[in-house]
Amino acid sequence: MIELLMTVFSATFFVTVIRTTTPLLFATLGGLISDLSGALNVALEGMMLISALTAVIISVYAPWYVAVLSGICAGAMLGALMAFFHLRLKADIILVGFAVNILATGGTVFALSQATGGDKGTSINLQSKAVPAVNLSFLDAIPVVGPTLRSLLSDHSILSWLALFMVFAVWYFLYRTPYGLWLRGVGEYPAAPEAAGINVTKVRAWSLVASGALAGIGGAQLAMFNYIGFTRDMTAGRGFIALGAVLLGARHPVGAMLAALLFGIFEALAVVMPNLFNWIPGEMIQTIPFVVTVLALILFSYRAQRARQMRTLTKI
């Protein structure tokens, strides 16, 4: 137990949490945007996967930022594809999402084998690049807290910092710009923006595109930092976990961040625990994030219910 606590309160653990959270957080923000616009995006998983592959392949030939950008574009294009089928051809959004996921599992392997000359599993014979980490060793100069600060803040992926910024940016967009107002209005009660002359379909389409772009950055982080390279199915369910995080996070960017962080923490715990507690079956350790989500969800919903009751009180 002491060992566990020491591990959990170490700087290494913190860094691990940030690293595992980052891809999830991007996907969660992506899920949040489309969810707020009224479309449940179950394709986050597939979007991440395709973006991961795109980023890896492009990074062989171009600088890392071009690779990340192309990952974003790939995600955005999938969002556009979903928008086309869902909004134009009126296909059910959940089905479209599942189709994108299926497309991604097969399509990435096919594309990978084309890109690597026959390798269907991994990209190890491609020299793909990494997203740089941000070195803050100058923090050492600060007296007393300097080294601790550095060990906590230094060496995170540049995209982790971007993720933090994106939480703010998404919040700003949603709650401080007119377009955010439109988007939330479209999601909550489309008839209102419609009657106000806003093109509801267009708003939804752009939300899906943005959703894909954000999931795309998540995919890029996963394949250019958490692990450098691509292997088949490497997203391993993270897109679905992000979907859970959207709802767990009360459909608010800060909530989304906290929910993604919660998953990140438990993913990190599941990583350090086998080394500390040999006697716990591996499967049981792997259930931790899921059990925690269910419990957190119940607790959170229960409290939200109570809060709603409190609000009715103030209203009367």
Binding site: L40, F85, R88, L89, K90, A91, D92, I94, L95, V96, F98, A99, V100, I102, L103, T105, G106, G107, V109, F110, S113, K120, G237, F240, L243, G244, L247, L248, P281, E283, M284, Q286, T287, F290, V291, T293, V294, L297, I298, F300, S301, Y302, A304, Q305
Partner: protein, 355 residues
Amino acid sequence: MIGRETGRAVTAVVIALLVALVVILLTSADPGAAFQTLLTAPLSSNRTMGLWIDDVAKLTLTGLAFSLVFQARQFSMGVQGQVYMGGLFAALIAMSPIGATPLAIPVAMVAAMLAGAVYGFIPGYAKARFGASEIVSSLMLNYIAILIVNYLIRAHLAPQGTGQLATAKFPDTAIYPAILPGTRFDLGILVALVATFVVWFLLYRTNWGLKLRLVGHNPKFAEYSGIRSSFIMVSAMTVAGAFGGLLGSVFVQGRAFGNLAQNFDGNLAFEGILIAIVARSRPLAVPFVALAYGYLRQGAQLMGIRTDVPTEMISVVQAIIILLVASSFSLPGKKFFANLLGRKTTPAATPEAAK
């Protein structure tokens, strides 16, 4: 109505096949043979027919489970977890002394249904009591069920010392009898058909079913009419869970397996969503959708096995089929197709055509 929907679905399938043909032309050295395999392989032998029918049975059951919860306007994604729990309990019965008796199949089915029902009840109760989103809780419960089953198999149920991640074969008495010997055409399809009838009957002929549908249409109205909507909601998810659990039995006790192994469902449980949505959650439409979708699914699989079309392209074709079938309910250019067939589409004529 039904005629029009079928017409559109057929149009979509035709387009999907054309797209598949393009994919095949691009990736195969012998496109003709590959395309023919896609179209005809499921009928090529008794064995492949058995595979198709086995798929249909399973797709029907998962489609029914989803239809039930969708009709109550719940979005539980928990069929997969129920399948694992049902499979687990069916296996426990099959491996117990009962497994060697003629009671093995009925008792295991009931055990599987109970297990699935309990597993369906949990997210329902969490929603009714705490307002916890059933989408998330049921998705998480899926993962939990899979891991629990994985653990039990590895540590307790598999023959110890061999390191196999599956139980030994069940006794013959605990495995569904084949309808067509030597194939997977077994009791499962009958179970699925009976289940279809039962779900239809429950929904459209019983008091509970009407209440369930009214809750699905308008929970406030249901409450006003004196229907306890939270009870109906939880019971809908529980009953759907029972069908999910039953599917678990069909999986592990069917001729396809006859034992309990890790990750046995191959994600088929989720394809029930597709079936239910395309069938518009109408139980009687479910087996037909399953029949058509199962055929394409099987054709694509066999094309992957028999021809040089890369397996990965199979899933690409499958995705395109889903996209187009899902879109089929309002494909653009309906008029174009109608004109092509020499018909006129005046609005006034449609109500007649729809009947």
